[in-house]
């Protein structure tokens, strides 16, 4: 197996051009190392960890710029993430063990494009954008367009994710990330649900409701019908019930070793209701009546 440690993004990109499908990028390695041991070894490994400045987390243009090499624990430790992007912070905090969080990067989580990737539904809800770079130039693209299927992104085999831009959510919002897994954070999510909302001026209704679902479709998804159903309304028990069912109907979960599709649907329903009720309570100070 060939091995490279490029020192710049352009050096990494020319290696990917040169080696095509043979090449595999490695960042933290928590997914790639397991693949090397138990699946096929790639023809060549391009280790991007020695490229400087790709792990920055800083305020930029009304939001937060996150370098793809920032580790999950660096997100968790970052003041700006905790204070301004609590949804992403909650996902980082429920991500595996401390040992894994110290090694795994957010870029690796995104580029792995597993529908259950912990940071993905939060990034969709936060309407974050990916900076994708090829040898002939860079572009930004919303994460809604970036994920193409399980393990598939618009990077193909020749692109690098070089940055993540997350706009600050509206002032006064409340957000919740709920993960359902057998061993708590240690396990891959059976279902992950991200909910974010604001309240209207007199706190009588929810506004700008956003719901993101992980592990229940070929890519992480938003639940637009559920969002439209609840936005602009006061949340009562009947609406909550309708919203849970609507969210479940927007998912298309598969059955695998972690859970049956039917069970995943029930969990989407329950966690959507729980997330919305928590937002309603935090934003209006009232219980769902």
């Amino acid at each position: 197996m060939d091995y490279f440690e490029p020192k710049t993004v352009s050096e990494a990109l020319s290696l990917l051009d040169q080696h095509g499908e043979q090449a595999e990028v490695i960042a933290g390695g928590t997914d790639v190392m397991v693949d090397i041991k138990y699946k096929d070894e790639p023809g060549c490994l391009v280790n991007i960890k020695r490229i400087p400045d790709l792990n920055a987390i800083r305020e930029s243009n009304g939001g937060v710029h996150i370098g793809p090499l920032a580790t999950i624990h660096e997100l968790e430790e970052s003041d700006i993430v905790r204070e301004r992007l609590p949804l992403l912070w909650q996902a980082a905090h429920q991500f595996a063990s401390l040992q894994i969080r110290n090694t795994a990067t957010i870029g690796g989580n995104i580029c792995r494009a597993s529908p259950s990737g912990e940071t993905l539904a939060p990034l969709l809800v936060l309407e974050a954008e990916a900076e994708v770079t090829f040898s002939d130039g860079a572009r930004t693209e919303p994460f809604g367009a970036f994920f193409k299927g399980p393990g598939q992104t618009s990077l193909g085999s020749r692109g690098l994710l070089t940055g993540i831009s997350v706009p600050f959510p509206a002032a006064g919002n409340h957000a919740v990330y709920l993960k359902h897994a057998v061993r708590g954070p240690m396990d891959i999510a059976m279902v992950g649900v991200a909910v974010m909302a604001t309240a209207n001026a007199d706190k009588s209704a929810l506004d700008d409701v956003r719901v993101g679902l992980g592990a229940v479709a070929p890519t992480p998804i938003r639940a637009p019908k559920t969002e439209a159903l609840v936005s602009g309304k006061a949340l009562d028990a009947a609406l909550l019930k309708e919203a849970g069912a609507c969210s479940a109907s927007e998912s298309s979960p598969i059955t695998d070793q972690r859970s049956s599709g039917e069970y995943r649907g029930w969990i989407v329903d329950a966690l959507t209701r729980r997330g919305l009720a928590q937002c309603w309570q935090a934003l209006t100070g009232k219980e769902v009546a």
Partner: protein, 155 residues
């Protein structure tokens, strides 16, 4: 293809060759002889292979060996001060937190990293620090007792 890397383990500098696909755990055990680093699940789930890399606990089975070039590592062999055990090691003996012992080096390393970060960890911090370490013998109760004892002795 083989690479040569230089790294520090428990204060000692080593330079050695490795295949680029080698996991750090295999390099530490088989090339450098640090057999205190245990290999168990080999997929990052159990914590037996935990080491401290540049101040942070990581699972050496899912870290690329080549990433240790220039790094400062601590394994369980480097935790005692000569013949004097680290308080967390002594506490494991005193509370009976060791049964088969296979998980013990990983727990000791995770808990040393915790006690380096915080002198008086809360129950929640202890739980978080060892959430990635599995013990199939003790039922954990005595491990929690050992951390309490070590923290008391260190403060």
């Amino acid at each position: 293809m083989s690479l040569e890397i230089t790294l520090t383990v428990n204060g000692k500098t080593h330079t050695a060759a490795l295949e680029p696909s080698t996991a750090l755990v295999d390099f530490l055990r088989d090339t450098l002889g640090y057999k205190g680093v245990k290999l168990c699940c080999n997929t990052g789930e159990c914590g037996a292979c935990t080491i401290i890399m540049d101040g942070k606990p990581v699972n050496s089975c899912v870290v690329l060996g080549a990433d240790a070039a220039g790094a400062d590592l601590v394994t369980v062999e480097g935790i005692a001060d000569g013949d004097a055990l680290h308080p967390v090691q002594q506490a494991f003996i005193d509370t009976g937190a060791v049964q088969c012992g296979y998980c013990t080096p990983g727990f000791i390393v995770s808990l040393k990293a915790l006690l380096d970060r915080t002198k008086n960890p809360t129950a929640e911090e202890v739980e978080e620090a060892i959430s990635g370490n599995i013990c199939r013998c003790t039922g954990y109760t005595k491990i929690y007792e050992a951390v309490d004892l070590a923290a008391k002795q260190m403060s």
